[in-house]
């Protein structure tokens, strides 16, 4: 099955799996910090950076599209977008959701304008940039895919190192500050990791759908456990499976765009978790509720301290 695939495809598969693992791990903290949609703005805000970097490259005569340059541009404008959201929520009366939506759409709009400038260039190259919008694994070279995969695993490693600190700030920022932890800088580190994962995922999944990998696997993982450690592990598993299966399906069948298939795989795994997870899944909840109702009707239940129903 997998043996039929060429070396290049295998490396792309590895890259997508690594991306899924990293985004599951990093996304868990974004989800718990209730910042899930900030990463949506971040990823949309990368477009003007990509197009701007391309134009800058063309200006200085860089041949064709240089991936590191484009990704550096993406990271720069993505970070700028996140800073803009923070500034707006901090300094104005506008709520965070309005700030997120405004930054997301205006940065993306600017990106489209710059893209139309690129289109007007005699050198062309707009098509190469457009692959970042929806993702395109077919065009990836093995070296690129491998490098990006390693970067993604690096992000997961940093989370493992800072696990305790990220957990503390995500759970109770005020307490962290009283204890003297630099909560602001720990948050910044998390945003840097999210930026890294986003930029790494641009080529594989595309900037519109990359947030699905940051949100969906962690949200699915939450159904299976009440412990953060296992939640991170399960999110990594679901993310990795989505990346791997999606990239494989896309390589096997024509007309299956990798980014969308990866996201659909994650959505399917989320749906399964929502329905069938033993602890918080819908079926388990319904079943427990029924059993409790039956027990109350038979008079088998008495109230005692510390026995919330369903536990």
């Amino acid at each position: 099955m997998i043996g039929d695939l060429g070396f290049n495809t295998l490396v792309v598969l590895f890259g997508a799996t690594a991306l899924g693992i990293a985004s599951g791990v990093v996304g868990t903290f974004m989800l718990l910090r209730r910042r899930a949609l900030v990463s949506d703005a971040l990823s949309h805000a990368t477009l003007p950076g990509i197009a701007g970097a391309f134009l800058l490259g063309a200006w200085f005569g860089v041949e064709g599209r240089s991936l590191p340059l484009l990704l550096a541009g993406a990271a720069a404008s993505g970070v700028l977008g996140v800073l803009a959201i923070q500034a707006i929520t901090r300094w104005t009366r506008l709520p965070e959701d309005a700030a997120i939506g405004a930054v997301l759409s205006c940065f993306f709009g600017l990106g489209i304008v710059l893209l139309s400038v690129v289109q007007g260039l005699p050198t062309g190259g707009a098509a190469g940039i457009k692959t970042f919008i929806f993702g395109q694994t077919a065009a990836m070279r093995a070296a690129e895919a491998a490098g990006l995969g390693v970067l993604a695993l690096l992000a997961a490693l940093v989370v493992a190192l800072l696990f305790k600190e990220l957990k503390l700030v995500a759970f109770d920022e005020g307490f962290a500050r009283v204890q003297g932890w630099p909560a602001g800088r720990i948050d910044l580190a998390l945003m840097a990791l999210v930026t890294l994962v986003t930029v790494v995922g641009l080529q594989t999944v595309g900037l519109i759908l990359i947030i699905a990998l940051l949100i969906t696997p962690p949200a699915a993982a939450r159904f299976w456990t009440d412990s953060l450690e296992s939640m991170v592990g399960i999110a990594a598993l679901i993310g990795g499976l989505s990346g791997g299966i999606g990239a494989w399906l896309s390589a096997k069948y024509e007309d299956m765009p990798a980014g969308a298939v990866i996201v659909l795989t994650a959505t399917a795994l989320f749906t399964l978790s929502l329905l069938f997870a033993p602890k918080r899944g819908l079926l388990a909840q319904t079943w427990r509720y029924r059993r409790l109702r039956g027990a109350i009707a038979r008079g088998d239940v008495t109230l005692g301290e510390g026995t919330p129903w369903g536990a």
Binding site: T92, A98, A102, F108, I112, A219, P257
Partner: protein
Amino acid sequence: MGGMTGFLSIDLPAILAATFACLSCALVGNFLVLRRQSLMGDAVSHAVLPGIVAGFLVAGTRDTFPMLAGALVAALVAGVLIELVRRLGKVEAGAAMGVVFTGMFALGVVLIEQGAARAVDLDADCVLYGQLEAVLWFGPTDLSSLADPAVWSTLPRQVVQVAVVFFLCLALIVLFFKELRLVSFDPALADTLGIPAGLVQHGIVALTAIAAIAAFEAVGSILVIAMLICPPATARLLTDDLKAQVALSLLVGGITGVGGYVLGAFGPLALGFETSLNAAGMIATLSGLFLALAILLAPRYGVLAKRRRARAAALDLAAEGV
């Protein structure tokens, strides 16, 4: 086509479509921004994609009606799914939206790529930034022909569509302004007064979906999101009166629509370049610029005004001899 005829057939209908799209989105957006539901616009405008494609696949044509119907159904499904995931799955609202709309958008992308849609020019790009350049009006030949009612009856479908939706939104909002204001301010109070807050809130979301879908084809989803949020947010920084806010947001939306198109289409020519810039993107960018200006310079809620006041207060306290 060049000169006046070119302007009347290419630029005028595009300006009309863009401006009406901006106006209806800005109008509805006021209540999204107040209710902290701005991202509903983001979610809806992504989630309608599979509906549009399905409508197209079922009907086999690019007629408006099947695609609009598909989009409406998809928006409805998205709304229900988001509620289900949030309530039953106890998933935080933002994340619930993220899970649902990315899944639906991905489904739409796969449907598009699955061949059937490729026969005609329905691609994912134009979902994002629309096809303003495809809005053409063959009726008018020169300025004087605009006086002829028959010419107006040939107004392109996209323009008619957004104009009708704008007037629909305007009528509904004028009619139910009192209820909308109360529900935006205090849904619980509205309930006790016998105004069904839930119904009004669902109405706002439904109106958002209609405005978004109507504007979608001409200007794309990104401009829809920008217009739902930026003009109302700009107006919110300039006034405390809801009526004034709605009026200001319409003004800002209108100026942005016309100004953005003109900048995009004629800006480069004026600078001596032989290209034009993407108009939808330009309008979104301009709306962001207006918002940034309001953030900095608004007389009462602007950053600079606040700074000045804080400094004055600190000086006063210091003068007290602390």
